[in-house]
């Protein structure tokens, strides 16, 4: 298997279970776990050049667990996961980063934090310096703060490259 090739089904399943141990679903905060199918799909699509290190971390996990996580009871799964975290190293750090990255950009999770699931600047945003608030052409944007303008009564149109 080339280092950046896709994970095997067994590795993908271990990754899913491990991600769910790292970040479990919570009814208290109304968020999915990192083993959620959409988040898992994002993780798989995101691996890219990190695949080799993620695979290495999953190999370490398999050695610590003794067999696939799916074959273990919850307590032994968690023990193996915590042993992996304690072991640390570049491979484990990479796997952890990928899981966290995909989890905390999921729209449901972002909303649960009281944030809007969008980039900091919309594709087209009108920044009304005179009135000190932002709004979008669709009118969906809400006033944001009361920035004082040094530019006078001007309107700045911010457009992403390629648009």
């Amino acid at each position: 298997m080339p280092p950046d090739g896709p994970l095997t089904p067994a590795q993908s399943e271990d990754l899913r279970i491990l991600a769910g141990i790292m970040i479990p679903a919570s009814t208290e905060f109304d968020v999915p776990g990192a083993d959620d199918p959409a988040i898992q799909a994002d993780i798989v699509a995101t691996l890219g050049r990190d695949t080799g290190l993620v695979r290495e971390a999953l190999d370490q996990l398999a050695r610590l667990a003794g067999l696939a996580l799916a074959g273990l009871d919850p307590a032994r799964r968690e023990a193996a996961a915590m042993a992996l975290r304690a072991k640390g190293g570049a491979a484990v750090a990479t796997l952890t980063r990928v899981v966290l990255q995909c989890y905390y950009r999921d729209d449901r999770v972002v909303r649960s934090l009281g944030l809007e699931p969008r980039p900091p600047i919309r594709r087209v945003m009108y920044w009304r310096m005179a009135t000190g608030h932002c709004s979008t052409p669709s009118g969906r944007g809400r006033p944001r703060g009361a920035a004082r303008s040094l530019l006078g009564y001007s309107t700045i149109r911010l457009t992403q490259a390629g648009r």
Binding site: L100, Y103, L113, R144, G145
Partner: protein
């Protein structure tokens, strides 16, 4: 005089672009790499390198970062970097080092960056306590980074790697760099002052990254500017001392790093050199 530039095109075919004037803008690693790889019978130590200084005096901006967590910082509503202090910028020998640093204040990061950083610091657990721990920290970060002025030291340098080559077989750059004693003391000072600020703010979970690994590694100083050809690579308006139609307009010109981010200064130098070239057009190569 330089005749032009040889390069590989997108198909891997070597091409040559003739030029009356050659302007290098590859910054503190790419520029010395190109000059050293341009060695010839006439310039056995690399182009524009009669001083032996091409690649030497490599400087960065090691950042000494301290951060903690306090009241909500509205970190999702604006860029995180929001305040600068020059209180420790100028030399005060009572501090135990020369030159100084800019203190850059930041107010948090987005959810992904917070999760990755705080998990790595052990502030966010795996498992049931994860969500509560994350929410206690997210949007509450207050940090200070000392942007420390690196000084030129000839042993900090870019050379050509004797083994590693790029996909065209061109020698890769090799970097030898060590944080000096002056810098180490400056960073310790920045960490101590940062801790004082955060303690006064009653911040919790204070963490130190000194140097930070992911930023501040600006590439400077490896083709320094100066009037003396024995002590510099280009003259005071950017022209090589050795090759009269070769100019450099990037961070390699810097003779010290300054304690600020360098892009604006690089841009100003490029504009200044372009203006000098225009004004001296009649006798540019004299």
């Amino acid at each position: 005089m330089a005749a032009g530039a040889a390069y590989y095109d997108a198909d891997g075919v070597e091409q040559f672009q003739a030029a009356h004037v050659v302007v290098l803008a590859c910054n503190g690693v790419g520029t010395p790499r190109l000059l050293l790889n341009s060695a010839s019978g006439r310039f056995p130590n690399g182009l524009a390198n009669s001083s032996g200084l091409v690649g030497r005096n490599l400087m960065f901006h090691p950042y000494a970062q301290v951060y903690g967590f306090d009241e909500p910082t509205d970190s999702n509503r604006a860029p995180p970097t929001c305040l600068w202090s020059k209180e420790f910028y100028e030399t005060d020998l009572s501090r135990g080092f020369v030159r100084g640093y800019t203190f850059q204040f930041g107010r948090g990061v987005g959810p992904v960056a917070e999760a990755v950083a705080s998990e790595a610091k052990g502030l966010i657990p795996w498992g049931a306590g994860h969500h509560a721990a994350f929410r206690r920290l997210s949007g509450h970060r207050l940090g200070l980074s000392a942007i420390c002025e690196d000084l030129p030291e000839e042993h900090n340098r870019v050379t050509l790697d004797p083994v590693l080559k790029d996909s065209h077989g061109i020698p890769a750059p090799r970097i030898d760099y060590k944080i000096g004693e002056n810098m180490a003391r400056m960073m310790e000072h920045g960490v101590a002052r940062g801790n004082e600020v955060l303690a006064a703010a009653e911040a919790t979970d204070i963490c130190v990254n000194s140097p930070i690994l992911y930023g501040g590694w600006h590439l400077l100083g490896t083709a320094r500017m100066g009037a003396d050809p024995a002590r510099s690579v280009v003259n005071e308006w950017g022209r090589s001392h050795d090759v009269k139609n070769l100019f450099i307009v990037d961070g390699s010109l810097f003779v010290t790093s300054g304690g600020v981010n360098p892009t604006s200064t690089i841009q100003a130098l490029a504009l200044y050199i372009a203006d000098q070239m225009k004004q001296r057009l009649v006798n540019l190569f004299d």
